[in-house]
């Protein structure tokens, strides 16, 4: 059973560092990959949701009698059906009813739901339900919600959610549901010394994540257990929340996660799962709910924001201080608003050395659809503002904008925020690469501009992940890990990590989606954490399997020292001899069958304290852009982009480039045209792709450069750290700065032709007035 010939010791390709083809590519190309909406079970019903058509009101009466008698209808759910449970959920603030209880707070809020034999029957029954409301005053934007006499959207004490991770929540103040701020140094002192003061008001729009697949869930509450098939990014958090809502122990709640048709944060935390479970509970059968796009657009979105920022510096360009106030519109329910608010505040100062800084952030309820996570939240909100002010300071100090960054950016090891993880990346090296890629320093071309931006995003969320690796009797490997495959390629990367440890080809590793009944706990999929945190758990689990192989091999080779053994190319090697893994498993158990199993876990107090103090790592947000503006029409074209993926170690370089390319196009959409428009009554006007435009092939820049930086300085496996979000924070900022470089500074996104044209007219008017 040993072999001394034919098997090469060195594999032809190493598992880590090579662009191994995606393990899920073929199933997705040929259409056989299953999403939640593709799954059907015997006896499964179809659920549809009746949604409020007013922005704020008290429910007087809901009449469901006619609907209940319609063909195919099995159950009609309203708030009355939830009197035996505490029907409010929300991981940050427990403010959201499963279905409206006594009031509605936004256009689109679920008021009732129908389960029927077919979707068409359920839809028909919705039309037969009548709801009578007493109108309440609608506050559908930040100004209205913050007015001194504004109607209150929520009353009563704040109930903290089970997983907000924000310490003790402050009391609600009017419609402000959460506040976060910090100040250090003497901001008034900075004001008195400053030669250069840049101060503006800014506006950032509501944006829809637009994952191609809408929210979808199949739920079956059979009285003893709750089973769900859901497209959720954080199945373990959703499991805990559903268990608490319906009074079940966690082990009686199961969630299976097939492939997700995109996430980008829109499927983080709990969304449509509670209403599906409640409907199934009433119907006594499994129920599938698949949102239509207009429904998902009122299920979650990105926060719109108002911000006032002041940056102060000396005439030599020494930064003295920054003062920031911001108000994020979280819609009618908090969702992840408090965390987004804190992250936005953390991103407000930017990665510079500030003698003084004062940041005050507010999360505000309005009568609009709830806002939650979207890729690079907080950083995307603030980086374009902070970096446009840095550019303006450099301009007034007459210093090259790149040179200004060289002088003022934080260096590795310096404090980013008090008590937190110090800077773990070479920002100056990174930004020089991004600037060089777009031709920094070359001669000016009329109506064109160059810009770049630098920022940091607190990444990794909470570092709690576990994973298991199993090696079967034939040497095949299964990785059980709770990261959700939503397009980013996590199944491929996890296969590569396990394969690298075990010295095998990644093709021999299988990674399935999460089934909470079998898959070990992983906190969440988001905040660029999977490769770094869950990947580390997979690495540790694979090392336990390797340990077992080495233990058996040591005795197999006659009691040799384990240090003399090496795993490579699917064999354990002792000098020139080797043993295959199947043989070693058989040797270990002394019979046909058996399996090796390893467990890995990552906890906050692991990792030399850095995990505990947070963040797990600082994700670098650096991009460059060249734009061209048509001064007659206000149309801005992005000619080229650059981005830096500072990943520590590239597990799969091709997947990293794809992350940055995808993030770059989302950045172009966010910067140039994506904007959800609400009326004063809280009606979302552009709730279809006809009116809400996302980037298409023709929006692609001529040239996109993704620069991968590998300094092996990450806390993840093999020195890796996460990526994929930074470019979405950095590119809108780079585009805004490039447009200012072309002579058109902007303080409101998106940069629609009309907005840009008006700004050009205003600038030209001022120039005319200035002339004698």
């Amino acid at each position: 059973m040993t072999s001394t010939t034919r098997i090469e010791r060195e594999p032809s390709v190493r598992a880590v560092g090579s662009s191994f083809p995606r393990v899920d590519a073929v199933a997705k190309i040929n259409g056989s990959a299953d999403y939640v909406g593709d799954l059907e079970f015997a006896g499964m019903l179809h659920g549809k949701v009746l949604r409020s058509d007013i922005g704020h009101g008290r429910i007087r009466e809901i009449d469901t009698e006619t609907a209940e008698r319609m063909p195919g209808v099995v159950a009609v759910l309203t708030g009355k059906d939830l009197r035996d449970i505490d029907p409010y959920f929300g991981h940050a603030i427990r403010d959201r009813p499963i279905v409206a209880i006594d009031a509605v707070r936004f256009v689109g809020e679920p008021v009732a739901a129908v389960a029927a034999e077919t979707e068409a029957q359920a839809e028909a029954a919705l039309l037969a339900i009548t709801v009578e409301y007493t109108d309440l005053p609608i506050v559908a934007n930040l100004d209205a919600a913050l007015a001194s006499n504004a109607a209150l959207i929520h009353e009563g004490p704040i109930r903290p959610g089970f997983a907000h991770g924000l310490g003790s929540l402050p009391e609600r103040d009017g419609n402000v549901c959460y506040r976060y701020g910090f100040d250090r140094g003497d901001i008034d002192d900075a004001a008195s010394q400053a030669d250069i003061v840049v101060e503006e008001d800014y506006e950032f729009p509501a944006v829809y994540q637009y994952s191609m697949e809408t929210h979808a869930v199949i739920a079956h509450h059979d009285g003893g257990e709750i089973n769900m098939w859901a497209n959720c990014q954080h199945p373990f958090l959703v499991r805990a929340e559903i268990a608490a809502l319906f009074g079940f122990p966690v082990d009686r709640v199961r969630i299976v996660v097939p492939f997700l048709g995109g996430g980008f944060g829109s499927k983080s935390y709990t969304k449509m799962e509670p209403i599906a479970v409640a409907l199934s509970r009433k119907a006594g059968r499994a129920v599938r709910i698949v949102n239509r796009v207009d429904e998902s657009m009122v299920t979650t979105r990105r926060h719109n924001m108002k911000c006032r920022m002041r940056t102060m510096a000396t005439s030599e360009g020494k930064l003295l201080g920054r003062k920031v106030e911001l108000w994020l519109d979280t819609g009618a329910y908090a969702d992840n608003g408090p965390r987004v608010t804190a992250t936005a505040a953390d991103a407000a100062a930017g990665p510079y050395r500030w003698p003084s800084v004062d940041v005050q952030a507010h999360c505000v309820y309005t009568n609009t659809g709830p806002a939650g996570s979207y890729r690079a939240f907080g950083a995307t909100h603030l980086q374009w503002i902070g970096e446009s002010q840095i550019d303006e300071v450099a301009r007034q100090a007459n210093i090259d904008r790149l040179e200004f960054r060289r002088r003022n950016l934080l260096r590795p090891g310096e404090e980013v925020r008090p008590g937190g993880r110090p800077l773990d990346a070479d920002l100056i090296g990174d930004v020089e690469k991004a600037a060089a890629a777009i031709g920094w320093g070359r001669e000016r071309i009329a109506n064109r501009g160059l810009g770049f931006s630098v920022g940091l995003l607190a990444a990794g969320a909470h570092p709690v992940s576990t994973a298991a690796v199993r090696m079967d009797a034939d040497g095949g490997v299964i990785v059980l890990v709770g990261s959700t495959e939503m397009g980013q390629g996590t199944r491929t990367v996890m296969a590569q990590i396990a394969a690298e440890v075990l010295g095998i080809d990644p093709a021999g590793v299988t990674v399935h989606g999460t089934d909470t009944r079998f898959t070990p706990y992983d906190r969440s999929t988001g905040a660029s954490r999977s490769t770094t945190v869950a990947g580390r758990a997979v690495e540790l689990a694979a090392r336990e399997v390797l340990d077992a192989l080495l233990e058996t091999a040591a005795s197999f080779f006659g009691g040799v020292d384990r240090d003399e053994l090496e795993a490579s190319n699917g064999q354990i090697w002792y000098r020139d001899e080797s043993a295959g893994y199947a043989d070693l498993v058989a040797e270990r158990f002394g019979f046909v069958g058996g399996e090796l199993r390893g467990h890995g876990e990552v906890k906050p107090h692991d990792g030399g304290g850095s995990y505990a103090e947070g963040p797990v790592f600082w994700e670098v947000c650096i991009a460059g852009a060249e734009i061209e503006v048509d001064r007659d029409t206000g149309i801005v074209r992005v000619l080229q982009t650059s981005s830096v993926a500072d990943v520590g170690r590239a597990i799969n370089p091709q997947l990293i480039e794809r992350q940055d390319e995808g993030g770059a196009l989302q950045g172009i959409g966010n910067a140039l045209f994506e904007e959800m428009i609400h009326t004063e009554d809280g009606v979302l006007l552009n709730d279809t792709l006809l009116d809400y435009r996302i980037p298409i092939t023709e929006d692609l820049p001529e040239k996109m450069t993704c620069i991968i930086v590998e300094n092996e300085d990450g806390p993840g496996p093999f020195g890796a750290k996460g990526c994929g979000e930074g470019v979405l924070a950095a590119l809108p900022a780079a585009i805004v700065n490039a447009l200012a470089d072309a002579g058109v500074p902007m303080t409101e996104l998106p940069l629609t032709p009309e907005r840009v044209w008006r700004q050009i007219q205003e600038i030209e008017q001022k120039e005319l007035e200035r002339r004698p």
Partner: protein
């Protein structure tokens, strides 16, 4: 009810259908084909693209009964073709697939482009694929794969 006599992926379906049934729902609910995906519902995103008599249509806004007398092809029906094998190989090597929800729609549109003898020129491809939306990839890899597929014909 109206008559629908249609060949879907080589199999004849001669049925009476409600006149308001969409081709997308017919393919899913009556034929069990789930490779075609629904997203925007308004003929913008292309996730639900199938071929009707060789032309790409958005099955989310195409009545099943409109396919009466026609030949319908979905991603499931072309898996064994030479075109599909070339497409799969190009999409894999360029990593032009992420979440995969839009991918079968792109493949079906590309089949029509290839049948039509469309050029592999980047500007042409950008235009002819502008009715297929992808939120994950940023399109660069899809256009590179497409140029390879169309160029090889």
């Amino acid at each position: 009810m109206v008559r629908m006599d249609t060949v879907i992926n080589g199999t004849r379906f001669d049925r009476e259908v409600e006149p308001n049934v969409l081709l997308f729902d017919f393919l899913r609910d009556e034929v069990g084909l789930t490779g075609t995906n629904r997203s925007c519902d308004v003929q913008v995103c292309g996730s639900c693209t199938v071929l009707v008599d060789g032309l790409p249509v958005s099955s989310c806004t195409f009545l099943a009964c409109e396919a009466d007398g026609s030949v319908v092809e979905t991603i499931e029906g072309i898996r064994d073709s030479d075109f599909y094998k070339r497409a799969e190989s190009a999409f894999v090597s360029h990593a032009a697939v992420q979440c995969g929800f839009c991918t079968p729609g792109f493949v079906m549109t590309l089949k029509a482009i290839v049948q039509d003898g469309g050029g592999a020129d980047e500007a042409q491809l950008r235009r002819s694929l502008s009715g297929n939306l992808c939120r994950c990839t940023g399109y660069r890899s899809i256009l590179d794969a497409a140029a390879e597929i169309v160029g090889e014909q």
